[in-house]
């Protein structure tokens, strides 16, 4: 008993020492400092007289160029290279800075920034529910803020937003439609020939552009060695910018300026480091990948899959040249064209698939002899026969005739599971294959 009394006394002695004095290592309270930081960031954003160049790197690993002008009334006006309209028509929306876990810049009503983040795939081509995995709430970390450059990190998808202070000339260029002018580069898809080439500093490069994912690939020969460089790109007030600068020896190339499109000649010209060049064409690749045809043919067999193409052959500048989109069989709609290597003993299948009872259904098709893989890197198809009642005219007949083109095709691997198959004859017909 007595002991416990002692303990209690001890305990109360402990409470005495409960001295109440806040010894902060900072001169100001957390709230004061937070408010100061928010105020300072807002001031920095809105007091940039000529606005900011901005680049967004969404989670899908592409890149998009913007221009932003903030005012001190929570308003921001933007240009964006998302579409031609958004590149030349400014859109005003609102922003605010808010104290979350870190100070955060929120674009809080819908502007061009949100086109990337929109979960409606119809807006940006992404998956429904995700969009392009971009953001509109960006955390600010003090160590990535300098006077002329601020790096933000998106709160949901960790996309990156980089602002760099714009010059008066850049602001004038954006307001004068400079970014929209650069988008003329998209006309590269109108070239009828598959292979495009550009020469600068005495080196000829093959250029391949994927406009959906905004990827540009340069291929060149270093002696006899094939070298490649791949980067995403976006547009600023001057033209197309490589997200990652291209360094070849002593030359550094940041992108293409002064992009002009000559509709009558179907020809693009660009300026590289001040020198103007025309993007030309070639009917064969700079370097033929001789192993590609066999690799293409073998690839689906390991997994039991097949090659698929939705729009079939692109011919002389026309997508879905044979009109597969409107094809039906017994009123079931066409979905996708298939190429199944080693479908039967000694033959492959080349056939359209139709949507029937909730799945894909084959109604007829071409039996294709096991292809001829030539030593110069071509694949040549020939007919073994037909399966079912193959239409004698129309899209299916045209697809077959094109496939059996006697000089064959080059195969160009464009990603792990995609190939483009380009006609050797004139490189004006090709089909893009994918597998899942």
């Amino acid at each position: 008993m007595r002991k416990s009394i002692l303990y209690f006394l001890l305990l109360s002695a402990g409470f005495w020492s409960c001295e109440n004095k806040d010894e902060s290592v900072f001169e100001k309270t957390t709230d004061e400092r937070l408010n100061e930081a928010l105020g300072a960031y807002e001031k920095q954003l809105s007091e940039a007289a000529y606005g900011w160049n901005a680049v967004v790197y969404p989670g899908n690993e592409s890149s998009y160029g913007f221009y932003m002008k903030f005012d001190d009334k929570n308003r921001v006006s933007m240009y964006s290279d998302f579409t031609e309209t958004s590149a030349k028509t400014p859109k005003e929306s609102s922003y605010r800075l808010k104290a979350m876990q870190t100070p955060t810049l929120i674009f809080d009503t819908y502007g061009y920034m949100h086109l990337l983040a929109d979960p409606d795939g119809g807006v940006n081509g992404g998956n429904d529910g995700d969009g392009l995995l971009s953001d509109f709430e960006f955390a600010i970390y003090p160590d990535s803020v300098t006077t002329d450059r601020i790096v933000f990190v998106g709160r949901k998808n960790q996309s990156k937003l980089i602002l760099t202070r714009a010059t008066q000339a850049q602001q004038t260029a954006f307001n004068g439609g400079g970014q929209a002018a650069g988008l003329a580069f998209n006309n590269i898809s109108k070239y009828q020939v598959y292979f495009k080439r550009l020469t600068f500093n005495g080196v000829t490069y093959e250029i391949a552009v994927n406009q959906v994912d905004r990827i540009i690939k340069l291929t060149w020969l270093d002696g006899t060695t094939v070298r490649t460089f791949t980067t995403t790109y976006y547009y600023d007030s001057e033209g197309l910018v490589f997200a990652k600068p291209f360094v070849n020896g002593s030359n550094t190339i940041n992108g293409f300026n002064k992009i002009t499109w000559d509709e009558s000649r179907t020809q693009l010209s660009v300026s590289v480091n001040g020198t103007t060049s025309v993007i030309g064409t070639a009917i064969r690749p700079l370097s033929i990948d001789r192993a590609a045809p066999r690799a293409w043919w073998n690839a689906p067999q390991a997994t039991g899959g097949e090659w698929r193409s939705v729009s079939g052959f692109h011919v002389n500048g026309v997508d879905d040249a044979f009109g597969l989109k409107t094809l039906t069989s017994d009123s079931f709609p066409y979905v996708v064209y298939l190429y199944i290597p080693a479908y039967g003993s000694g033959y492959d299948l080349f056939a359209p698939a139709f949507f029937e009872d909730g799945g894909l259904s084959l109604h007829y098709g071409d039996a294709v002899r096991t292809p001829n893989f030539t030593s110069d890197g071509r694949i040549i198809f020939s007919m073994a026969g037909t399966l079912g009642d193959v239409p004698k005219t129309g899209p299916v007949a045209q697809m077959s005739a094109q496939l059996y083109e006697s000089s064959g095709y080059y195969l160009i691997q464009t990603s792990e599971k995609t190939y483009d198959m380009v006609s050797v004859k004139d490189a004006k017909s090709w089909i893009s294959w994918f597998r899942i």
Partner: protein, 308 residues
């Protein structure tokens, strides 16, 4: 334990409490400085003014059209903010198609007392893993979240297409509001128990998502969702009857095809169930709220027709 030690104990406790009391807190400090206390602030613009004079002043409703992640249930879902150009057209349509008819039929006192007090807007809908989308949420009769409003269009707005946009607006906006307001009404004054007996044994429960609306109709439910439980049956009836008008509802009932459903409902039984529910709702509006439902329905439908 003797008396003495008991006394000692009490005095020690007393001592302890004295000690604790003396351990006094300082002032809590300058609370005015806490960032965001009292809500986010921004420089007010024309939309804020419009909302103040057209929603807040007359109806005591505030509208959050600027992004605030924490107003949405599931922070993992991807949504985008409302487009400013959509805000006023959306809110004035809601005023026209929902608020005004109620105010005219039931009076401002009724409306301002029971209407939800906060609207939160999202530009996009919410995509669910099962492939469905969510167009709205409601919280305790106080807050209604409206989603997908960037694609909301009524007659006169650029790019308006009657056949798709009227369905979209009904589904994502008017249906949500009428439905939720129906819940508020019956949560304040419950509907007669007899309502639950009309379709007893036919409800689908959580399985409602596997039914189409036209199948549910054949079982005597105005939508598939209304077959999920009694309360939702009640408010779905209200929402559909108000939006579609008497003629529209009659058409739905009369169009039920002959035959018997898997639940064993005949056409006559389905039609009779829907008519009994209709009659009970009309009586409920009269007895509980002194509202002439058919007059309200006529006004609501007229407003809907004028917009689409």
């Amino acid at each position: 334990m003797n008396k003495l030690s008991g006394l000692l104990f009490s005095s020690i406790f007393l001592l302890c409490s004295v000690v604790l009391v003396s351990c006094k807190e300082d002032e809590i400090g300058d609370v005015e400085n806490i960032p965001g206390l009292g809500g986010d602030e921004w420089v007010k613009g024309p939309i804020d003014d419009w909302i103040f004079s057209n929603m807040t002043t007359p109806y005591n409703i505030s509208v959050k059209y600027k992004w605030d992640q924490f107003e949405f249930d599931n922070v993992l879902k991807t949504l985008v903010p409302a487009d400013e150009a959509q805000v006023i057209p959306l809110l004035s349509s809601i005023d026209k198609g929902w608020a005004k008819p109620y105010v005219e039929e039931a009076g401002k006192v009724f409306f301002n007392k029971y209407s939800p007090k906060l609207f939160v807007l999202s530009g996009s809908v919410e995509y669910n893993l099962d492939g469905s989308v969510t167009g709205g949420q409601a919280e305790g009769g106080r807050k209604i979240v409206m989603m997908g409003i960037n694609r909301f269009k009524v007659k006169g707005m650029p790019g308006y297409k009657a056949e798709t946009d009227s369905l979209y607006a009904k589904f994502f906006v008017f249906h949500v509001i009428q439905h939720e307001f129906g819940h508020i009404l019956h949560q304040n004054k419950n509907y007669p128990q007899e309502y639950k007996t009309i379709s007893a044994g036919k409800y689908y429960g959580a399985n409602w998502i596997n039914y189409r609306d036209e199948d549910a109709l054949r079982d005597g439910f105005v939508t598939a969702y209304s077959a999920s439980n009694f309360d939702d049956d009640f408010v779905e009836m209200i929402a559909v009857m108000l939006m579609e008008g008497k003629d529209g509802f009659d058409k739905m009932v009369n169009a039920i095809p002959p035959g018997t459903t898997a639940k064993g409902t005949t056409r006559e039984q389905a039609q009779s169930a829907l008519r009994q529910k209709e009659a009970m709702i009309v009586a409920y509006y009269k007895n509980s709220w002194n509202i002439d439902f058919y007059a309200l329905q006529k006004k609501t439908r007229a407003a809907m027709v004028s917009m689409f």
